[in-house]
Amino acid sequence: MKKPATPRPPGWAHKLLTRITAPHLLEELEGDLEEMFRMRLRQHGYRKAQLFYLLDILLLVHPRLWRRKPSPYPKPVYTQKLYLDMLTHHLLLAYRSSLRYKSSFVVNLVGLSTGLACAMLIYLWVSDEMGIDKFHAKGDRLYQALLNRQLTDQVVTEHATPAPLAEALVHEMPQVAHAVATTAGIQMPLFTLTAGNKNVKAAGQFAGRDYFKMFSYPLVQGDENQVLRDKNAIVLSESLARKLFNTSQNIIGKAVVFQQEQTYLVSGVFADVPASSSDQFDFLLSFEVFKDLMGPGATNWGNTGPRTFVLLREGVDLQGFNAAIRGLIKAKDNAANTEVFLRPYRDKYLYDTYENGRLAGGRIAYVKLFSIIAFFILLIAASNFMNLSTAKASRRVKEIGIKKALGSGRGTLMGQFLGESLGMAFLSGLVALLLVVLLLPEFNQITGKRLVLRFDTRLIAGAVGITAFTGLLAGIYPAIYLSGFSPSAVLKGKLPQRPGEGWVRQGLVVLQFALSVVFIVAVTVVYQQVQFIQSRNLGYSKDNLIYFGVEGSVKEKLEPFLSAVKNLPGVVNASSGAHSFLGQQSSTTGLEWEGKNPEDLTQFEVVQVNYDMLQTLGIGMSGGRAFSREFGTDSTRIIFNEAAIKAMGMKEPVGKTVRLWGEERQIVGVSKNFHFQSLHEAVKPLFFILAPGATWNVMVKMEVGKEKETLSRLGAFYREFNPGFVFDYQFLDTDYQALYAAEKRVSVLSKYFAGLAILISCLGLYGLAAFTAQRRRKEIGIRKVLGLNEMGIVYLLVGSFTRIVAVAIGIALPLSYLLTSRWLADFAYKIDLQWWYFVGAGGVVLLVSWLTVGFQAVKAALVNPVTTLKSE
């Protein structure tokens, strides 16, 4: 073997040894090892010597190796009195230092308390969101059945299930304890209920008989086995009962008229549905009644509509069960292209977005987003504290030196500094709590929630937890840094400069400003996108358009009603339809055309309309004509949108015929594309057919500027025409905006958060600039004496901060580009990212930081050098 020129023990092992060995043992150990190495080298050769060397080091590993030399002085004996004295001493010092350095105290207080208030608000919101649908006692066994529908190019997941599914599950699957079908989709429809001469609009649905056995909506009156058993039963909420009967006591068996048609008898009363339920309803009717209404559709496995909920028996494995019911629908209806599966009911609210049959998130994304924002804002606020405390260290080195010389251990000092920052955090926490109380109504309005500050253990634990976390986060670095000073050095007046100390401080500033820039870019992009969506031409006009239900006399005499409404002054047009134009509602694959590929599963949205609907909505025609009374036979015709024509690959479509559900229909017109769904989706194929009897929404277009008079006229006419019903209309415009409620909330909230982030960052920068100016005052004095003018000094101070902020901007811009383009990717119609979003955000941050530092710089530059130089 080749020997090195002068054989040495392996260097890395030696280095490792020097790192872990206690200083007072190091020299002799190094010597021993070296001596033995040389001895073995002579006796056994290089390889063995090296091996033994490593072995010796390995066998040295023992607590005694790194245990420090015991102090020759006796340890102080801590008594309770001493603890108390030290505590008062610390408090006194903290109080004095806050009085003495008011500005940095205020900076810390304002920064920490706004950051904490923000985090607390977000905590309230997040815990509210997380709490939705979690109150059901059997929640761990409660599931919702969903369908995966296989289309030509994708799988869509649907809430609507076949009506017989619930019963089939109960009868065929022994693992199922209960299963019910209910009617309502995303929102409960409103119905008119009458008791005596009182009419009330209330949200309700049809539900299977075991509903109250599965869900924890406690019954105040009635038996959970009985209330939904009879076909004429109605179960009311307490508040609805009070509205109808002025009392919720002893009303079992009383009559309630539904839609002025059917009479039901009250069979039970349930406590009002809590706000933490995603299903909100005031009354329930038996699902059997709905089956009668559906007729043959109630037993059809191809139709979907009701939602199905399942309670499994204890200990049933979900995956196994899902595998077992996979082919259930296919077995009933061979033509079906759907598979059923269960998902936990408690995930219904937060995890409801499926892409191609797989769970892709949902509201949980916003919950996560805001939690991250809260954390970052706290981080920014805590960085201020860290920065200012370490910067202030120069003022405290003497205190630390003396304390150490008097025998204070490192632990005691760390305790003092951590205690100070915790104290500061809890003081800020109190201020933050006050802010939260003040801001909560506003916050509720933005988020559309009804959050309240209830001082239960969870909230207190949350608030204390957040505050303590911030205090520790803010105090840990100063505590380690300040307590590590060597007493002899600091008492000689030397401020120990560790390498990397400046880096940490500058790094924190970079972090703060980078986050601020990201926030600003995000706010700009979200705002622009929301604006874009709301001002985008949808292909129809949603302004001044109201809609209300077709019910009672309006249903019986729809034509006369519509023509009378059209003649009211201020009404531009009126029609009725079976679509709200706010989302997908009913679609079919049962359309055949010439040259259709038999494998083709393109879905067409079905819109049943009355005459004049396209005109009322202002949908343009790109060919042919709209439905018209002049022809009289339009009920066998059809109108497609451009997307549908494209999907069918048809040329010259007008005049051709297609087969819909087995019947021939002639194409009379092609409408322009319009957005009948949220702009998250591209325009899908759609057709209109004339079917006045199937419409359930009256739409009325009003003249601009005369909405108020027109509405009151309409209301008077409606009450006269349709006694016993409530004129309950909605603006399509408002509902359209509700489609983007989530985006709007994010837009508004992030604006506030970005503002806060900048404010807190600038507070920190202000404090740091003040500190720097203070520390460099002698240097500035000398420079002035030597002839530098005020501008030069401002430039000197601002320049050093500009570099840091510039680095932050440089890091933040690519990051914010990535984040915003990922967010936008979710929209089918979106804005392009403009360069000025980024340059603007960087510019704003730079400008604000210049203003902050500049103020301090000017102040420092104007000081007479005599005052700074004469001290000492």
């Binding site: 002799e28 021993d32 070296e34 001596e35 033995m36 005694r64």
Partner: protein
């Protein structure tokens, strides 16, 4: 303070320190013991034992001169204290008494 009770290996190390007198430091102790006992003597164990002996006040230590052999580092020289001597004497007394008291039959001889 722990008692002056000596462990078996402590006793050996303390004896070696006394034996080496002015040249008692860790490497020398390792060599001395390796020569006499029939098992590997490990530097780390000797080190820790000497630390323990010092904590018990049975030995004192001082830095010696630096040598080139040790890469210019000083060695730590150990000297037994009077307490160390007493502990050794005590250990020997216990042994001697026990030896003296062992009946001959214990090792298979004829009882007296």
């Amino acid at each position: 303070m722990k008692g002056t009770q000596l462990g078996e290996f402590e006793e050996l190390v303390l004896l070696a320190i006394a034996f080496l007198y002015d040249e008692a430091y860790s490497v020398a102790v390792v060599e001395e013991l390796s020569r006499r006992v029939d098992r590997p003597v490990i530097l780390g164990v000797v080190h820790r034992t000497m630390q323990r002996l010092e904590e018990k006040g049975l030995v004192t230590s001082r830095f010696g001169e630096a040598t080139a052999e040790r890469g210019g580092r000083r060695k730590r020289l150990f000297t037994a204290t009077p307490a160390g001597e007493r502990a050794l004497v005590e250990a020997r007394r216990i042994r001697n008494e026990l030896w003296a008291g062992i009946p001959r039959a214990a090792f298979g001889g004829n009882p007296a």
